[in-house]
């Protein structure tokens, strides 16, 4: 193709072809395209040097390149329309500049980039919505926690006072009123718990536990809890676990119990005669995979049954088989929805079979790991020792007059001495006296909250090298996070309001020290010595064990040395009694009097158990 033919072709393709002359001007070669306005190139395109800033250098020394492209630029045409151009510098014997008016290529490029931008913007929007959703979920959780707390606080007083009232002399009519009062309160509490559970599931905040448990225990506990209501209605309640089912599993026994309780509770509610049976067998549809065990549970009742068109919807939230069900039987309709979510979290499914008038069978499957064989039989459940005739001195902190009144009422006949305060700062102040056997601590109080107060008391104990006083958080915060927060602050346990009298007494009995605080021995020490006192007493406590070993081996020399050291140092640190015991041990060792040494060690042990510094 000749150069002139090449120029014609380029013109046909829509390019305006200019040659860069030696005088640095541009000369149009060939025919002018239709789109090219009249005038000198630098007047028509005054910013060419900006779009091809390196053109001069390129023409002078193109290197391995044959062309240099500019970006697109858009400028207004004679009729006010947008025209899209790009420029190409071509190296060779002649310095050529091609200008292209490229509406189609421009649009294609724009469509491609536009698509990429829209995609990126959509991703950004999804990310933004996701962040907003997370914030909203957190706000919802916070709201639920707050509402739960605000409802539980007065519920504690309502249900507790009803319990106290039921213990007083009442006529039959009054007893019935109180019974209705308590039952309504319990139902309301169940509704609150259901809503909390459901919200946590919805927010994806439920994590299943993974601990070893005995399947039979879980089934039996559920049967026992529901048994009271079943017996009251004259219903039989049975359970059957097939022998091939492994008894010891790993999973979440609490949630499994909750599912069974929900199903059993419904079964009792909708059954007026006959009985209810819980069965557990291996899931035939799910072969065992390694240690994974898929179980099939059924809860069968002989109750009213479910209409066929409602069987598939009973596991939906806020759904009951019939709108009149709520009126007749009560409930939120959340129990089955919660059970369904728990079952799904356990890798199973839940469904119902029913014939109206003949009863219903709720099936669910769940997967558990087979637990390793326990090396020893599981520890028996800790049972709460009764308070007996122990007279405990309890420090009660709660800003609610009603709740303090309630605890006072619960403990009225126990002989416990109760000192009451309304905020954390007052708790810490009274606690300094070191006379309390236990602290019952509300979490949210003015001035200083229960968490800060607990931390302050634990620090005080550490400073005094005193044994830890049981601090029981007694709060209306029911979520797991609240419990974690109490324990992290140093509380011994976390009790949730509303609390029954039995539960409170059981907890106090469980944690009450065998040795009441009344036996404690306060010792005043110089303030400059306080930092070293904990380590000093720790060493003396270690001496107790050393003395016992020495006595067992008739090693009187060690007893004498330890006694001598104790006698020499005790008084100096402010513990005159330690000096006295040390002298006695030293003398007894010299006389090789084993009985007296034994008494001395016992006295030393008791002293170290009870001494508190001030």
């Amino acid at each position: 193709m000749s150069p002139s033919e090449q120029l014609d072709l380029l013109a046909t393709l829509g390019y305006a072809v200019f040659e860069r002359s030696s005088d640095e001007s541009f000369r149009l070669l060939g025919a002018a395209p239709q789109w090219l306005p009249a005038g000198a190139l630098t007047e028509v395109f005054p910013f060419l040097d900006v779009f091809l800033p390196d053109a001069e250098e390129f023409w002078a020394n193109p290197g391995s390149l044959s062309m240099l492209h500019s970006d697109f630029w858009t400028q207004t045409g004679p009729a006010g329309e947008d025209l899209h151009f790009c420029a190409i510098a071509v190296a060779g014997e002649r310095k050529l500049l091609l200008i292209e008016c490229a509406p189609h290529r421009f649009e294609q490029t724009r469509e491609f980039v536009h698509y990429a931008h829209q995609t990126k913007l959509a991703h950004d929007e999804i990310a933004r919505l996701s962040r907003e959703l997370k914030r909203a979920t957190e706000a919802k959780s916070e709201f639920l926690a707050r509402m739960s707390h605000e409802i539980r606080t007065p519920m504690n007083a309502l249900l507790g006072v009803a319990e106290l009232l039921s213990e007083t002399e009442l006529s039959d009519e009054q007893s019935e009123y109180v019974r209705i009062f308590r039952r309504a309160g319990d139902n309301l509490l169940n509704v609150i718990n259901d809503i909390l559970d459901f919200s946590k599931i919805e927010a994806g905040q439920v994590e299943l536990e993974c601990i070893a448990f005995n399947l039979a225990d879980v089934v039996q506990e559920a049967i026992e809890i529901i048994g009271v209501r079943a017996r009251a209605k004259g219903l039989c309640l049975n359970s059957e676990i097939r022998p091939e089912v492994t008894g010891r599993l790993t999973g979440d026994p609490g949630r499994l119990r909750q599912i069974l309780l929900n199903l059993l509770s419904n079964a009792v509610k909708f059954t007026d005669r006959g009985g209810i049976t819980v069965r557990v067998r291996l899931d035939q549809d799910q072969p065992e995979a390694g240690t994974l065990h898929s179980l099939h549970f059924t809860v069968r009742d002989t109750g009213v049954g479910i209409p066929p068109d409602r069987v598939s919807t009973i596991f939906d939230s806020f759904t009951q088989a019939d709108a009149s069900t709520t009126r007749k039987y009560g409930g939120t309709g959340l129990g089955l929805a919660i059970s369904k979510r728990f079952v799904e979290l356990m890798g199973g499914r839940i469904w119902a079979e029913s014939m109206p008038g003949e009863g219903s069978t709720i099936h669910f499957t769940a997967r558990f790991d087979v637990a390793e064989a326990a090396s020893k039989s599981p520890a028996p459940k800790a049972t709460a020792p009764a308070l007996g005739n122990r007279t405990l001195r309890i420090l009660l902190a709660d800003d609610s007059d009603d709740n303090r009144f309630l605890v006072r009422g619960y403990l009225r006949d126990t002989g416990c001495v109760i000192d009451e305060v309304k905020n954390g700062a007052e708790v810490v102040e009274l606690f300094r006296a070191g006379i309390y056997d236990m602290v019952l601590m509300d979490a949210e109080m003015p001035v200083m909250d229960g968490y800060a107060a607990t931390r302050a008391m634990r620090a005080l104990e550490k400073e005094r090298a005193a044994p830890e006083t049981p601090i029981l958080a007694l709060t209306a915060h029911a979520l797991k996070e609240a419990r974690d927060r109490s324990i992290e602050a140093g509380c011994t346990d976390h009790l949730t309001k509303p609390i029954t009298k039995t539960a409170l007494l059981e907890a106090i009995g469980r944690y009450a020290p065998v040795q009441p605080a009344a036996d404690r021995i306060p010792v005043t020490v110089e303030s400059w010595l306080k930092p070293v006192i904990p380590a000093y007493l720790e060493k003396r406590r270690a001496d107790v064990q050393k003395l016992r070993v020495a006595l067992e081996q008739s090693d009187y020399s060690t007893v004498r040395t330890l006694g001598h050291q104790m006698a020499g140092s005790g008084g100096g640190y402010g513990f005159a009694q330690l000096t006295k015991i040390g002298e006695m041990l030293e003398e007894s060792a010299l006389a090789e009097d084993a009985a007296r040494i034994r008494d001395g060690i016992g006295e030393l042990d008791r002293y170290l158990m009870n001494v508190v510094t001030e």
């Binding site: 910013f47 900006v50 779009f51 800033p53 970006d71 697109f72 630029w73 858009t74 400028q75 207004t76 947008d82 899209h84 790009c86 421009f106 490029t109 724009r110 980039v113 536009h114 990429a116 931008h117 829209q118 990126k120 913007l121 950004d124 933004r128």
Partner: protein
Amino acid sequence: MVGAFGVGKTSLVRRFVDSIFDERYLTTIGVKIDRKDVSVNGKSLTLMLWDLAGEDDLAQLNVSHLRGASGYILVADGCRASTLEKAAELQQRVTEALGPLPFVLVVNKADLRDQWEVQGKQVAEYGWPTFETSAKTGIGVEEMFLGLAVTIIGRHAEREAGDQ
């Protein structure tokens, strides 16, 4: 006009030059050049407005397109915090390549203020002359362009006085 893609550079220019706002988003490719005659302090002035394609994952800002510019406008979208970071990054690159040119920061889409991720405190930390605009409603647009024009004129006057 420089900034991330989709922050509203083209819409700001259209609002200023043609008093038009179009809801459709049309990606700018390369550079779009517009012209606007304005009067600043009684003097007529022609602004040549170079609307540069927004920087994205596909293409970087061609800083050479700012050669010869009297000043520039950094545009961020108040609804996307990342575009403010991008504006700050571009400011650094332009300064490195071309030295300290007059510029203003624009946080656009003031009509969607309730959806803004960009906080006033974040913007203030840069210590730059800043305008909040809405190309959609026109709020702050003219003030922003004229504000930059005044700064540029002031800079020129300073330079001329320095030369004399």
